[in-house]
Symmetry: C2
Subunit: 358 residues, 2 copies
């Protein structure tokens, strides 16, 4: 009865109809967090439609705004990867590098990070310690400081070991203007190395798969590489890291934001042979598999060769390749020229291949 | 076997001994998130000791730093309150006002917020919508914008409906310097109203308790009130909002940071009679119960009356009271003069009275 009173009071404040009707979806599904169409639908209809403001609507990896005369970038990500320790890293490192990369691909120099922990009762203190030690190590490598934090503990069975949120603040480099909306026909698309390692490493850890050589996550801070790229050319129009949903999803998001078409070449996309084999066995498409150290840069065609050359000189760019270009044709669509000479539409997937990948 | 390999490789990087030995605590307990001694121990030994830097070590509610010539404040909090809808508010409103308040008590004007959602599979979309609508409403009331966000979904049983992290960026007001370390003997302590409403409202929602009049959370954005206070006096030395652990914990933290003693007067502390009664029945001490719209300001004694007067004119300060002062005696200790004339040491509690209060 009492509950009814305040629920009613509360509801009367909210005389708004939910934009996702019950007959479409009445509950949040795992796939709503998978990076695909369902997630985009949820974000657009629920979050963007309500929070609606020009900064949020930029829809980049970071929000960009000015305070006094400083141009700042601000971003957030919660990390729920499972397992929390995996080949090539752990949840703490992803939490640092992921947010460093989201600031970096927006053309910003990452400076300060926050860290919010949601810990499930019963997590071994030693595991927490390992995670925290490697977060510090990662922050040092990336040249950022963790300056503020928060700790919450939830009952056993109400969380999953540990979730970490990091938010980050950085300063945008002078003279550049990077946005998903800025690429244009003729722009060359550069990818900084082999795809799908992170997703396959996580999958193999979950399933106990064994490979001839160990497949490890590509987890890496990209700010050094990006700094080099930005110093080489002011004409990088768009840049994204290809995490959840893989390069296919990221390319689709950019095609959608820019209103242009994207063409990629299957035989140019770098992939580790063993990772490719694992994907075939598991029935996964590597284009949709998460990376944690891969970026896609859309560069003016006149500067592309020089940018590529610089990227090849950097440890996190040594396998860089030009994988495609922006075209006038098929606006908002990503088309792949396959190695057998056909065209394949690379659509955004509906749900997801691998939940809790980051 | 494979698992061993990479675990070993990983461990060799971390040749550091965990600063909380196994024979002390080997697992994270609920009480490690309760705001008391255990939480402070965890934060100091694990987080502060590793992340160690001058900005984190300020240990205020926000980190303060300069970028170019702008003085900025940056803060983060994850919200895990249970139930997610309660008398007087919901998790979305707490997530906005909590972070707005953390920026405000640091002497900053809150500007931009991030929002990171960790949703448990199965949450009704309508509940998410209600939360998001009231976050927008709260952001508008507080005059801030939600400019960047993230959505993760975890499997049923690996979360608890919804957790929200918000981080916030603001600009520090000119000419003030607020820090837990800045208060000094003679400073007057002002509290802006009645304590313990939030905790008792949550508790009554959980337990289905009924009172003559409904007890609702004191959840409120304090930036307007604080703006008024700062415009009245540049000599507010310390300010904190008294959330987890209540005013007792906040006062202890300040006594500890400043190395001075704190004296408070029991009969000056405002409390709703019904809330007090509920605490007695439930065996809870209201001094330790969470608030979501209460601040403690440590003001130079010459300015205190004027600040108090202004506070009384504001809706969120209409029950403000001077509740104590900073003293040279009993450094790092909080002592309460009781209504029967005795002295009671108000210590920091070890664990917590109410888990998941915010």
């Amino acid at each position: 009865m009492r509950e009814l009173t305040w629920n009613k009071k509360f509801m009367s404040k909210l005389d708004l109809t939910c934009p996702i009707p019950k007959n479409e979806y009445d509950k949040v599904l795992l796939a709503h967090g998978g990076g695909g169409k369902l997630m985009h639908n949820l974000i657009e209809k629920i979050f963007i439609s309500q929070f609606d403001n020009s900064l949020l609507n930029q829809q980049g990896d970071s929000a960009l705004f000015e305070i006094d005369s400083s141009k700042l970038a601000f971003t957030t990500d919660s990390y729920v990867v499972q397992p929390i320790f995996f080949p090539g890293g752990n949840i703490g490192e992803i939490a640092i590098y992921g947010t460093v990369n989201d600031l970096s691909v927006a053309g910003a120099k990452p400076l300060y990070l926050s860290a919010g922990f949601i810990i499930e009762e019963g997590l071994p203190i030693e595991d927490l310690w390992k995670i925290v030690v490697s977060m510090k190590e990662a922050a040092d490598k990336a040249g950022v400081q963790i300056v503020t934090g928060d700790t919450k503990v939830v009952e056993r069975g109400k969380g999953d070991k540990i979730f970490i949120n990091t938010s980050g603040v950085g300063t945008v480099y002078d003279g550049i203007n990077i946005s998903p909306k800025n690429c244009k026909p003729g722009d060359v698309i550069i990818l900084n190395g082999k795809i799908a390692d992170h997703g396959v490493a996580i999958m193999s850890a979950r399933e106990g798969l064994e490979f001839e050589t160990e497949i490890v996550s590509d987890l890496a801070p990209l700010n050094g590489l990006i700094n080099l790229m930005i110093n080489t050319s002011k004409n990088i129009h768009t840049m994204r890291d290809a995490t959840r949903g893989g390069i296919a999803t990221t390319l689709n998001e950019i095609a959608d934001s820019s209103n242009f078409g994207i063409e990629i070449y299957e035989d140019k996309i770098p992939i580790n042979e063993q990772v490719n084999g694992a994907c075939e066995i598991l029935g996964l498409d590597p284009l949709y598999i998460a990376n944690e150290g891969k970026l896609l840069a859309f560069v003016d065609c006149n500067d592309a060769e020089e940018v590529l050359e610089k990227m090849l000189s950097h440890p996190f760019g040594k396998d860089s390749k030009i994988i495609g270009k922006v075209v006038e044709d098929h606006p908002k669509r990503v088309v792949m020229k396959t190695s057998i000479g056909t065209n394949r539409i690379v659509d955004m997937i509906s749900g997801e291949q691998l939940p809790r990948i980051c």
